[in-house]
C-alpha cells in the first residue's frame, strides 16, 4: 500500500468513525431525547412508561404529605395546566418547598402517578435554574438541566 493510499484509507476510516458516532447518538437520542416532561405533556400524550425520565414543575400548595414510615413523601407537581401525583422515598433536598420549583427523576406508573428516585431542587437563590425561575413567574415550564456539578 502506498503512503497516499494509506492516508486515504485512514481518512475514510476517520469519516466512518464520525458517521458511526452520529448514527449511534441519533439512535440513542430518538429514545432518550424526550427525557423531560411537564405535567401538561403527560396530560396530552399519556405517561411514558418503562423508562427513567424527568418530571418538572411546581410543588402544588398544600399537597405535601409524609407517610407513616417517615421516609416516603407524597406531593403533586403542577405546571398550571395539569397535575401529576408523585411519591418519593428519600431525603428531600433542602430547598424543596410548596409553591417552589422541583425536578423529579424516576418512572411513571401505569395509573399516571410518578415514582421519583431522585429530586433536584435549586441549591440556593443564586444558582436557580432559569427554567425554574420561569416556572416561578407562572410561565410554562419547559426543560430541566441537572444541578450536579
Amino acid at each position: 500500500m502506498t503512503p497516499k493510499n494509506q492516508r486515504l484509507t485512514l481518512a475514510l476510516l476517520g469519516v466512518g468513525a464520525m458517521a458511526g458516532a452520529g448514527l449511534l447518538a441519533l439512535s440513542a437520542l430518538k429514545d432518550q431525547a424526550a427525557f423531560f416532561y411537564a405535567p401538561a405533556d403527560v396530560a396530552r400524550d399519556g405517561p411514558p412508561l418503562g423508562r427513567t425520565v424527568r418530571l418538572g414543575g411546581m410543588v402544588e400548595a398544600g399537597s405535601v404529605a409524609r407517610a407513616a414510615d417517615g421516609v416516603t413523601v407524597r406531593f403533586a407537581v403542577t405546571d398550571g395546566h395539569a397535575t401529576v401525583p408523585v411519591t418519593y422515598a428519600g431525603i428531600v433536598p433542602d430547598l424543596f418547598r410548596e409553591r417552589s420549583g422541583v425536578v423529579a427523576e424516576g418512572q411513571f406508573r401505569p395509573d399516571g402517578g410518578f415514582r421519583a428516585t431522585n429530586l433536584l431542587a435549586k441549591h440556593d437563590e443564586k444558582y436557580m435554574p432559569p427554567e425554574l425561575a420561569r416556572a416561578a413567574d407562572g410561565t410554562r415550564l419547559h426543560e430541566t438541566k441537572s444541578l450536579a456539578p
Binding site: M1, T2, P3, K4, Q6, R7, L10, L13, G14, A17, M18, G20, A21, G22, L24, A25, L26, S27, A28, L29, D31, Q32, A33, A34, F35, F36, R51, T52, R54, R66, D69, G70, V71, A89, G90, I91, V92, D94, E105, N118, H123, D124, E125, K126, Y127, P129, P130, E131, H142, E143, T144, K145, S146, L147, A148, P149
Partner: protein, 638 residues
C-alpha cells in the same frame, strides 16, 4: 493598591502577548531572526505578569478587601483562610484569571524549556500561544475584570456558595485548569508546525512531553472532581453526565487519542496530519468547555454568572481560534507529505483503532452535550441525560477496553495474527474465568454492563502487565512501566465502576435513637443527635455506630450544616473507608415524631474508581520521568 497593581500587571501582560504574537509573525514573514528573538522573552514576562495578577487577586481575597467587587460578592470575612484563598477562583472573574494565568505560565514554560524544536517552529509556537492569550486577556479586561472596585465598599461580603467550601476547591480547579489549558501548548505546537511545514518525528518528540504533562494533570483534576462531587453532593453518585463534567471529559478523550497518535508519529513517522488535527481538536474542546461553563448557558455550581455578553464574547473567541486553526490546517496540510505505511496487524493499527474509538466516544459525548444547547437556539427545549450516554457510549467504551488489552501486545510495523492470539491466551483466560465466577455466584442477577465490565477489567488487568513479564524488571524502561501502570489503572477504575453499579446496597430509614438499621453486611445504629458549631456554620450532627459481623464498631458523624452567608443548608456525608469498600451515610430530616431520616449505602470496591484514576495519571508521570531521564543521559553523553 493590590487591585490596581493586579490590573496594571494584567494590562501589561496583554500588551506583551500582542508583542509576542506580532514579533513571531513579523520575524517569520520577513525572515528576521532578530525580530523573532523577541518572542521568547516576551512570553516569559507575559506569563510572570499574569501569575502576579493572580497573586494580587488571591491577596485581595486573603485580606477580605471588600472594596474589590468579586471579593465582596463571593467572600466573607468569617470564612476560614483556606476558603478565602481558594475562593479567589470560586467565581467567574477569578476562575477566568486563573485560566489566563495558567495559559501564560504554559507559554513561559515552552519559551524557557523547549529545546528540541527548530528555532522557526518554536517562534511560531510561542507566537501562537501569545495570540491565544491576547483574546482571553481582552475577554478578562473588557467583560470580566476581576479588579473592579466597589464604591462605597460594603462592610461585609456576600459569602461563598457553601457547596464550594471544601478542601476540594483548593485542589480540583487549579489541577483541572492546568491540564485543560495546558493543552493549549499542543494546539500552539500544531499551529507552529503548520506554519513552518515541519510535521515530522522531531516535532512529535518535542510535543509529546507537553501533551503528557497536560494529560496527567487533566486526569488528576477529573478524578479529584469526581470524588468531590461524590462525597459533597450526598447522592452517592460519582459521575452524573452533567454537561460541565462532559466539558472536562471531551478534552480528556481528545488528549488521550493525541497521546497515542503522537507516539506513532514519534516512533514510526506515521499519522502526521491526524496528529496535527487531534492537537487542534484537543484544545478546541477545552475552549468549547470554557464556553459551555462560563457563558451561563448551562446551570450548575460551576456556572457562576449568567451574562449573555460574556457568552457571545467567548463564542466569538472560540470560533476565531478554532476556525483559524482549521483554516490553517486546510491550507497547509497539503505541504505535509504522507508518513510511512504499516500493516493492518501492527502496533500502529492498534493505535489507530484506539484513536477511532476514542473519537467515536468523543463524538457521542459532544452530540449529547451540544444537542440540547443547539435545540434551545431553535426554541425547542429538551434534555439529554445519563440513559443516553450509558447506551451510546457504554458499548464503544467496552470495545475500546478490548483494543486497549490487545494493542500493547502488538509489534510495530507488522505482526502475525496467530502469534497475537497466542499472547492473548492469559488475558482471555482471566476474562473468561471472571465471567464464569460471576455467573456461578450471581446467575442472571447481574445486569449486562457490570457483568461485561468486570470480565473485561480482569482481562485488561492481566494484559496490561504482560509487556513487563519475561524481562528483567529493573531494566524495563520507565516509559514501558508508565504504559503498564496507566492501562492497569483503566482496568482498576472499570472494576470499581462495575462493582459500584452491580453490588451497591442502599437503605433509607426513619431511625429512632438506639434502633439499628441494616445495609449490606453492616448494622448501623443512631446513638444520638447533637449540635455543632464551626467557623462560619452551625450543624446538627448524628452519631452513628456501624458494626460488621464481629468486627470493631466504627463511629460516623454525618451532619446537616446551616450557613448564614449565604443562607444555605448542606448535607455533610460521613464515609468510612474499608479495604473492600465504603460505608456512606447521610443525615436527613427529623420526621416530627422523634425519628431522623438516614440514607445509608454500602459500596463495595467503589474506591477503585478513583484509585484507577490516580494510577492512570501515575503511569503518565512515570512515562514523563522516563523521557526526562533519557534526555538528560543523552545530553550528558553529548
Amino acid at each position: 493598591m493590590t487591585a490596581e497593581f493586579g490590573l496594571a500587571a494584567l494590562w501589561l501582560a496583554a500588551a506583551l502577548a500582542v508583542l509576542q504574537a506580532a514579533a513571531a509573525a513579523l520575524g517569520l514573514a520577513r525572515a528576521r531572526e532578530d525580530v523573532a528573538a523577541v518572542t521568547r522573552p516576551a512570553a516569559v514576562a507575559q506569563g510572570a505578569l499574569a501569575c502576579l495578577a493572580m497573586a494580587a487577586l488571591v491577596a485581595a481575597f486573603a485580606n477580605s478587601d471588600m472594596s474589590v467587587r468579586v471579593v465582596a460578592e463571593n467572600s466573607h470575612s468569617a470564612k476560614p483562610m483556606l476558603y478565602k484563598l481558594a475562593g479567589a477562583w470560586g467565581n467567574h472573574e477569578g476562575s477566568m484569571l486563573l485560566w489566563v494565568a495558567i495559559l501564560g505560565a504554559a507559554g513561559t514554560a515552552v519559551a524557557l524549556f523547549e529545546r528540541r524544536l527548530d528555532p522557526r517552529t518554536l517562534a511560531a509556537t510561542v507566537g501562537a500561544q501569545g495570540l491565544i492569550a491576547v483574546g482571553f486577556y481582552a475577554f478578562l479586561l473588557f467583560s470580566s475584570n476581576p479588579f473592579d472596585r466597589l464604591v462605597p465598599a460594603p462592610r461585609e461580603g456576600l459569602g461563598l456558595n457553601p457547596l464550594l467550601q471544601d478542601p476540594g476547591l483548593a485542589f480540583h480547579p487549579p489541577t483541572l485548569y492546568a491540564g485543560y489549558v495546558g493543552l493549549s501548548v499542543a494546539f500552539s505546537f500544531a499551529v507552529g508546525a503548520l506554519v513552518t511545514g515541519r510535521v515530522d518525528r522531531a516535532f512529535a518528540r518535542a510535543m509529546r512531553p507537553w501533551v503528557l504533562g497536560a494529560w496527567v494533570l487533566l486526569t488528576l483534576g477529573i478524578t479529584a472532581g469526581s470524588y468531590w462531587a461524590y462525597y459533597e453532593l450526598g447522592w452517592g453518585g460519582w459521575w452524573f453526565w452533567d454537561p460541565v463534567e462532559n466539558a472536562s471529559l471531551m478534552p480528556w478523550l481528545a488528549a488521550t487519542a493525541l497521546l497515542h497518535s503522537v507516539t506513532v508519529l514519534a516512533v514510526r513517522d506515521g499519522l502526521r496530519a491526524w496528529t496535527v488535527m487531534l492537537a487542534v481538536v484537543a484544545f478546541s474542546m477545552s475552549m468549547l468547555g470554557t464556553f459551555l461553563v462560563r457563558s451561563g448557558i448551562l446551570t450548575s455550581v460551576h456556572a457562576f454568572a449568567v451574562d449573555p455578553a460574556r457568552g457571545s464574547f467567548i463564542l466569538a473567541l472560540l470560533l476565531l481560534y478554532v476556525g483559524g486553526a482549521l483554516a490553517l490546517f486546510a491550507l497547509r496540510i497539503g505541504t505535509v507529505r504522507a508518513g510511512t505505511t504499516f500493516d493492518p496487524v501492527s502496533r500502529e493499527a492498534g493505535l489507530v483503532a484506539n484513536n477511532l474509538l476514542l473519537s467515536v466516544i468523543l463524538g457521542v459525548v459532544l452530540i449529547g452535550t451540544l444537542y440540547p444547547v443547539g435545540a434551545a437556539a431553535f426554541g425547542v427545549q429538551l434534555s439529554v441525560g445519563p440513559p443516553f450516554f450509558d447506551r451510546a457510549a457504554g458499548p464503544v467504551a467496552l470495545l475500546l477496553v478490548a483494543v486497549l488489552a490487545v494493542g500493547p501486545l502488538l509489534r510495530w510495523r507488522r505482526d502475525e495474527a496467530g502469534a497475537v492470539l497466542g499472547r492473548l491466551a492469559a488475558p482471555i483466560a482471566a476474562a473468561s474465568l471472571t465471567a464464569a465466577g460471576l455467573f456461578a455466584f450471581n446467575g442472571f442477577g447481574l445486569s449486562l454492563l457490570p457483568f461485561l465490565g468486570l470480565s473485561a477489567a480482569a482481562g485488561l488487568a492481566v494484559a496490561s502487565v504482560l509487556p513487563l513479564t519475561g524481562r528483567r524488571l529493573a531494566r524495563v524502561p520507565l516509559m514501558t512501566w508508565g504504559m503498564a501502570v496507566s492501562h492497569l489503572g483503566v482496568a482498576v477504575a472499570l472494576a470499581g465502576m462495575a462493582c459500584d453499579a452491580a453490588f451497591t446496597r442502599e437503605t433509607l430509614v426513619a431511625a429512632q435513637v438506639g434502633q439499628p438499621a441494616r445495609v449490606g453486611p453492616w448494622s448501623v445504629t443512631l446513638d444520638g443527635i447533637a449540635p455543632r458549631i464551626g467557623d462560619n456554620w452551625s450543624a446538627v450532627e448524628a452519631r452513628l455506630t456501624a458494626v460488621r459481623g464481629e468486627g470493631t464498631p466504627l463511629t460516623l458523624r454525618p451532619q446537616q450544616r446551616f450557613f448564614s452567608d449565604p443562607v444555605t443548608t448542606t448535607s455533610e456525608s460521613a464515609i468510612a473507608t474499608r479495604l473492600d469498600g465504603q460505608l456512606y451515610t447521610v443525615l436527613g430530616r427529623p420526621d416530627g415524631q422523634g425519628r431522623w431520616q438516614l440514607r445509608l449505602w454500602w459500596k463495595p470496591f467503589v474506591t477503585l474508581i478513583w484509585a484507577g484514576g490516580v494510577l492512570i495519571a501515575l503511569g503518565g508521570a512515570l512515562s514523563l520521568a522516563g523521557r526526562a531521564l533519557r534526555d538528560r543521559r543523552a545530553r550528558a553523553a553529548a
